[in-house]
């Protein structure tokens, strides 16, 4: 009997380790291929294609990227600014709304919550939304079009409300008896107690801003205003050429490294997320397990 149980556990463990290892490798493989491509020489890629291991290891693609880094720095600046401003403003408005909706003595909280929730059930579609922003708000080629439309989402408000509901009501009530105003209660008492919720929603928002390429795709026409992901998209699609000093200084028929350069740009653009990843993941997992399944 004892031996049989051990055997089934052993079998389970072998299958488990194998399956999980294979899936993990599959998750890593595309990243590895991009890294490998970025360190390959252009001649090798043109001759043999991208390989799993480069046979000639070279930094030349990165040298090209950083030989004239203004364009990428500018795009970094745009993305960082949008992410920071958008996330902070979004958290401010979302948490205020969440606070109001979590107040049980607020008479209209259910109707207002439904007014917000309804936007997830039915929408006018992308085209009326686009025409509103371009024709009526006149935000074509404006940073506002990248910042405002994605700032507030109904799900984030609902999530915030659920996080705040778990704060004991007695805290709010005793502050009210002491004569504190609503905004003071929100900013001094409720917000500090809602840090897990703020962290989770802040990460959702920040990630959405950082990874956004679509808004720029339909709203931005000036190349200098491209955020990072959209610049990468344009370079990958060969619709924009990275302005390297190599390309600028040489004659028109000189062909700069393109394939390995695309891979190097992908790495340079994604790098920060990978470095922040251990931190991001910890908060994400925490927030998800607290609130997301059913708040």
């Amino acid at each position: 009997m004892k031996i049989r149980t051990e055997r089934s556990t052993l079998l389970f463990n072998i299958v488990g380790y194998v399956v999980i290892s294979i899936l993990s490798l599959l998750c890593l493989l595309p990243f590895w291929l991009i890294i490998s491509g970025s360190f390959s020489s252009e001649a090798e890629i043109v001759r043999d294609g991208f390989k799993i291991f480069p046979s000639e290891f070279t930094f030349s693609a990165y040298q090209s990227v950083f030989s004239n880094p203004q364009q990428i720095f500018k795009a970094y600046l745009v993305s960082i600014s949008l992410t920071a401003v958008g996330t902070l403003l979004g958290l401010f408005f979302i948490s205020m709304a969440g606070y109001v909706l979590s107040r049980k003595d607020f008479k209209y909280r259910n109707s207002l919550a439904f007014f917000i929730y309804f936007t997830t059930l039915f929408s006018g579609g992308m085209i009326p939304w686009y025409i509103l922003i371009v024709k009526y708000l006149d935000w074509k080629d404006s940073y506002l079009a990248l910042l405002v439309p994605m700032m507030i989402g109904a799900w984030n408000i609902i999530l915030m409300k659920n996080f705040m509901k778990s704060i004991p009501e007695s805290i709010v009530e005793s502050a009210k008896i002491d004569g504190a105003g609503e905004f003071t209660i929100y900013s001094k008492l409720v917000l500090p107690l809602s840090t897990p919720g703020l962290a989770t929603i802040g990460l959702f928002l920040g990630l959405a801003y950082w990874n956004d390429w679509f808004s720029a795709n339909i709203f931005i026409t000036t190349e200098a205003k491209y955020p990072l992901q959209f610049l990468l998209y344009k370079i990958l699609a060969s619709a924009a050429v990275l302005k390297t000093s190599v390309a600028a200084n040489l004659s028109a028929d000189f062909k700069p490294p393109t394939e390995s350069l695309k891979m190097a740009v992908a790495i340079v653009v994604t790098g920060p997320i990978i470095f922040l990843y251990p931190f991001l993941q910890r908060y994400f997992v925490k927030g998800l397990t607290i609130g997301a399944v059913k708040g």
Binding site: C27, F122, G124, I131, Y233, L288
Partner: protein
Amino acid sequence: MSGFIAELRKNKILFLMIAPVLVFFVVFSYFPMVGVYYAFTNYNFDGGLFGSPFVGMQNFKFLYESGALFSLTKNTVLYNLAFIFIGNLLQIVCAIFLSELTGKWFKKTTQSIMFLPFFISFVLVGAFVFNLFNTETGVINALLKQLGMHTYDFYMNTEPWKYIIVFFNVWKGLGYGTVIYLAAIMSISDEYHEAAKIDGANIFHRIRYITIPMLVPTFILLILLSLGGILKGQFDLFYQIIGSNGMLYETTDIIDTYVYRSLAVNFDIGMGTAAGLYQSFFGFVLIMSVNWIIKKTREDYALF
């Protein structure tokens, strides 16, 4: 009405605090709902909302008669079904393995790796696809060349892209879903497993008779919620993988990519809005039905 004004006066600050969000939704969600009127016009930019010629149901009729509506709906629904079922099943498998395996370091590392794709942008997914499948320099064709075999022109064949799209969707959501299911497994009381062990159940028995039955409610809830959104396509995924490669539309065009092309490529505002309205309307009907079903069976899980 006077009751509302009294309430407004009493809770002035609360109303002020929620006002920005309400204004936001009026402008960016409710105002565009008026714009579904475009679907019934032959829109031109000068005429605007009410100056363009009214054509009634003509746009919908064209979408229906050209067969576009059927093939777009079919693609959208089938892709979503594949995403939902393959995705959830793999997530459950991973969650069960991760909950039972004992190597702490192994579990932590692999879980981190599997969560990584969730954090990257779809543009990078596009870079992966370019790196793997492009005809001249892609990894797969490079391998085929090295082995002395004929290269395969992915961009001329519709068949492989179904699997590529499903693969990358499942790939991107694996870690996220695993965390959700892992949380559900962790909430199962240890007593069940201990009792089963004493009764001589092996690990397969315990998974079959304890873990899986306990996961069923979470599974059904997640499936139902996803079914409500089955007409909504993942634009980012499809656009970054397929792009504007018309050769592949037959099997890879979904409602969202069609709407996008109506706006950005064909400039057919009326037709695009009509397709979008069709999606929104039936999406609404679907989610109401799903909610009705949940309410009938498990009231506490209902959305509203």
